[in-house]
Amino acid sequence: MIIEDFDFWLGKAGYFSLTLLIVTFYGLLVGAFIDRTIAKVQGRIGIPYRQPFINILKNFFKRTAISHGVMFYLGPVFRIAGGIGTLAFIPVLYGSEMFSNFSMAGDLFLVIYFMFFGQLGMALGAGESGHPYAAIGIARGLSQMTAYEVPFVLAVISIVIQYDTLSITQIVAAQQGGWQNWTVVTNWVATLAAMLAFLGMMGYSPFDIFLAPQEIPIGPPTEFHSAYLGLMQLNRALFGATKLVLFMNLFFGGATSWPELMIKTLLIYMVAIVVGVAFPRFRVDQGIRFFFKIPTLIGIMSIVYVQMMLVA
């Protein structure tokens, strides 16, 4: 299969690499932007735009490192492979064959499940570090994940019912033709549930207990440093952007060009930031309960809503 269409695959790989670069770059940039935005809120100037890049470079330029074992070494690799893979299965730009990446390999379920790949690998790496805080952080993170997953999945089911497909490309296709066709308009309930889940997914306050820098020194990555940390920072930019792209595709009509993508994802990101700046941190059980209450209810309503809509 791969041998036969070698050229095609080479092209795919090439364009995906391009996508990867753009999205990573964009993710780092947007990270800086967000940081500066928060700084503005606090009356500061904030970091320069280049800061995230420098941080990563610095980490890669560290000259000493330690290793707790093979899984510790592979953990960050898993982590970023999860990020890259997730991006690989999402069509980034609508209507562009080349920027559809490898989305023909799977559908929305694949993306949702592949998100766990990196988390699992990372968790294993952090686990091998032998640091109790890493384990605590993971335990918290995973617990919270099960909670925000519920409204998110309900919203996803809702839109899958709405569009009668699991293919992200087709979901985006169904939203073309103006803002009035976006899911956020046609199925605002589902979008609401998904955006609430999004808050948890992005790991900003009030749902950042699993990082808790002062309590459990940044949780899972406590022991990671140097190039490991560099990879993880890359992933944070990449994976964050990937999630934004996914949400954009599902709920905000996708994008047909890179600028559109950037604007949309930035705006989506702002939601998490605004909430994050405004609210203090939840305790982990509070966070979990929160997701099981209002967001889940909205998620349930979204399915009811979409069924009523289809009947009507």
Partner: protein
């Protein structure tokens, strides 16, 4: 890739019980060379200088001066300064004033756990000569007897502005490739360790805290 333990050149770890020996690495720290290509090294130094992650460990009264550094008034993040809660990820250790023997032990442990290149800034007069605690029974007078210091910011207490100035000075030094305290520490490891052990009586750590 993972360097195997150099068995010939291991540390004694006399502070540990037999049972604990296997739980701590007994490897001796090694110095690192600059990158063979000058441009790369310069670039790396530039990156290091512009991304100074300070270990969030307030060791003395100077710690209070670190806080305003991140606030709107001083906003050290402009210079790439950020706090990190774990020594693994930090590159700068700010010794905030006097270092008591008890704290010194923790400082040493934390410093050794940082990954090189790593830098120490000593804040205030106390780490220089003991300052007002020069004859205290439990503070060390000359901090650089125990750990390699890259930059002193004297005063009692220096204001945050001075600290910002000091950080900028450190950046300059890093960019110039002059901050190699970590290597100095490794090269004179035995001397440093002897000094440390002289003041720290209950040495129950491994000799080098990886």
């Amino acid at each position: 890739m993972i360097k195997s333990l150099n068995t010939e050149d291991t540390l004694e770890n006399a502070g540990l019980t037999d049972e604990e020996q296997q739980l701590f690495s007994n490897a001796r720290p090694q110095a690192y060379e600059p990158y063979p290509i000058k441009a790369v090294e310069d670039f790396a130094n530039w990156a290091r200088a512009n991304s100074l992650w300070i270990l969030a460990f307030g060791t003395g009264c100077g710690a209070i001066e670190l806080r305003p550094l991140m606030t709107a008034r001083f906003d050290a993040s402009r210079f790439g300064v950020a706090g990190r809660p774990t020594p693994r990820q930090s590159s700068v250790f700010v010794i905030g004033g006097y270092a008591s023997v008890k704290t010194l032990k923790r400082i040493i442990r934390s410093y050794e756990q940082m990954q090189g290149p790593k830098f120490i800034i000593c804040l205030g007069i106390c780490p220089v000569n003991g300052g007002m605690y020069f004859d205290s029974y439990n503070t060390v007078n000359q901090f650089d007897q125990y750990l390699p210091v890259d930059l002193y910011i004297t005063g009692c207490m220096p204001r945050p502005e001075v600290l910002v100035a000091g950080i900028m000075e450190l950046q300059k030094k890093i960019k110039a490739g002059e901050c190699n305290g970590a290597n100095r520490y490794v090269e004179n490891f035995d001397w440093y360790k002897a000094n440390q052990k002289k003041v720290i009586k209950n040495w129950d750590m491994p000799d080098y805290n990886w």
